[in-house]
Symmetry: C2
C-alpha cells in the first residue's frame, strides 16, 4: 500500500511549495519517482481534506484547513472595511450603519467574531443592532469594531 506514502508526500509538498493545480502536484510527484495521475490526486485531496486557498498573489493554491485558519477573520475584516458606514450606541445597543444590503453579512461577521459580552445581533438591510450584555462593555466593543476597520 503506497497510498499513504504518497499522501504524506503531498502534505509535505503543499507546505513547501505553491501547488496551484492537481496536475502540478502529479508532475511534481512524478519528478520524485512517484508515478500518479491527476485522477488519483483528486481522490487523495478529497481524503486529505485539502482545500484551495488564496495565496499571497491572489491565485488559488492547495493548502490545509489548519493553515487557512487565519484567513477566516481576514474575510470578516474585509467585509467590514468595505461596508461599514458608522458605529454608534444607544444604551446597550450598538448600532451599525452599513451600505445598503450589507447589514446581514456584517451581522454574521460579528456573530462569528464571538466578541465577549455580545448577546446577539439582528440585521435589517443597512442597519445592525448588537445587543450588549453589560453597559460597561459597550465602549470596549465599539473600540473592538473600530480596530477592525482601521
Amino acid at each position: 500500500m503506497k497510498k499513504y506514502a504518497r499522501q504524506s508526500k503531498i502534505l509535505e509538498l503543499i507546505n513547501e511549495r505553491e501547488i496551484e493545480t492537481q496536475e502540478d502536484l502529479a508532475s511534481t510527484l512524478k519528478g520524485m519517482g512517484i508515478n500518479v495521475t491527476q485522477a488519483t490526486i483528486s481522490r487523495d485531496i478529497k481524503e486529505l481534506r485539502l482545500i484551495k486557498v488564496t495565496s499571497n498573489t491572489g491565485k488559488y493554491k492547495y493548502g490545509t484547513i489548519e493553515e487557512s485558519q487565519n484567513s477566516i477573520s481576514d474575510r470578516l475584516v474585509r467585509i467590514f472595511k468595505n461596508s461599514i458606514i458608522s458605529i454608534d450606541a444607544s444604551m446597550n445597543i450598538v448600532v451599525i450603519r452599513t451600505i445598503p444590503g450589507a447589514a446581514q453579512i456584517c451581522g454574521s461577521a460579528i456573530d462569528s467574531l464571538q466578541i465577549p459580552d455580545v448577546g446577539g445581533t439582528i440585521a435589517g438591510d443597512d442597519t445592525v443592532f448588537v445587543a450588549v450584555r453589560k453597559l460597561e462593555s459597550v465602549d470596549d466593543i465599539i473600540n473592538n469594531l473600530y480596530a477592525l476597520i482601521n
Copy 2:
C-alpha cells in the same frame, strides 16, 4: 452595491442546504430573485473563502472553514485507523508500527494532535517513535492513541 446582500444569502444557503455546485447556487439564487451567473458565484466563493467539504453522503458540497473544523481530526483518525498495526512503549518512547509507507503521515498526524507531554516524533517507513516527556505520561498517551483507533 448588491454584492454583499448576495454574498450574505450565499452564506445562508450553504448552511441550510447541500449546495453541490456553483450552478446549483446560481439557480437557487435565481429562484429567489437574485439573478447571477456561475462566473460571479465563482468570484464570490473566492472572496468568501468558501471551500468544498465532503458531506455525509461522501459527495462534495460547499461550506465554510469554520464548519469543517471538526473534519481535521476526522482526517487524522481515519489515517490512523487504516494504517496502525501496533502501539507499544520502550521507556519513554512510544513505538508505533504501521503498514509500510504510512509512518510519515502517522507522524504528522500525531504532531497535529498536539497531545500533552509529547516532545516530538520521528518516522521511518513503517515505524514511528514518539518521545514522551515524562515516564508517567506514557500510558495516558498510549490510551489516547488506542482511543483514536477504536
